[in-house]
């Protein structure tokens, strides 16, 4: 096998990253935290995501009048298990050049907890790591919010809150 075959290539193009976290909560509460405008803002740098959350609907993550962060379509919406979205980063000219990738959220109950897996794929080869670099902070903030009811306040985690 040569090197190229050994690495991840999904859907014929681009690379992928996978992030996993265990959160002590129910699939329903986890789904709510992902799709609720207010809850989402509390662990996503203070940025709210607005959508109707129906298959084919659009979503937009922004601080209105301040900055647009990302947008795209909800390709698959299967509460409280699976959400597949197209993802176009908007926060800078550099990331806008990267075009559209795909984000898949998968929730699996494990005992009294849930495993949340976020797969960010269809990224270009050598994609700008800003595109997926925020996921660890977002997911640990989501865990903190669901398990303690509090906001994660490490540097940068609420960058746009109150903007």
């Amino acid at each position: 096998m040569n090197d190229e075959q050994a690495y991840a290539v999904i859907g014929g193009r681009g690379s992928m990253t996978v992030f996993e976290i265990y959160i002590k909560t129910t699939p329903e509460r986890l789904w709510e935290a992902i799709t609720s405008e207010e809850m989402r803002a509390r662990y996503s740098f203070g940025v709210a995501t607005v959508s109707e959350w129906t298959p084919g609907s659009e979503y937009k993550a922004s601080v209105p009048g301040v900055i647009d962060i990302a947008g795209g379509k909800n390709i698959e919406v299967d509460p409280p298990r699976r959400l597949v979205q197209s993802f176009t980063a908007l926060w800078s000219e550099d990331v806008q050049k990267e075009g559209t990738s795909r984000v898949t959220w998968e929730i699996e109950p494990v005992g009294t907890s849930c495993r949340l897996r976020v797969t960010h794929d269809q990224l270009g080869e050598d994609a700008n790591n800003e595109l997926y670099g925020g996921w660890p902070m977002i997911l640990s903030g989501l865990k903190t919010l669901l398990e303690t009811g509090e906001d994660l306040d490490t540097p940068g985690s609420l960058r746009y809150a109150g903007a």
Partner: protein, 105 residues
Amino acid sequence: MDEVFKALADPTRRELLDRLFERDGQSLSALEERLPMSRFGVMKHLRVLEEAGLVTTQKRGREKLHFLNPVPIRLVYERWVGKYAEPWASALSELKKDIEKEEER
């Protein structure tokens, strides 16, 4: 968290994470090629990393690809480093604001 530290307390496992950090999503064969170790040995180490949540896998056709999952390390960071990083982060963002103001003038 015990499992994370146990998994990290081994040079071969740290090297496996380095390989995945360099290039994410590799098969067992690709990882094995670069280590002076049997396939079985590499598998054993990968299993410890998986149990600690530091490596996740996805099936692609006949192959299982391994991905570095940095989230458990992020949780360690937040527990002990977060508060120390804060003054630096705010100092840097103040500096950025000052410089940008300078540039506007």
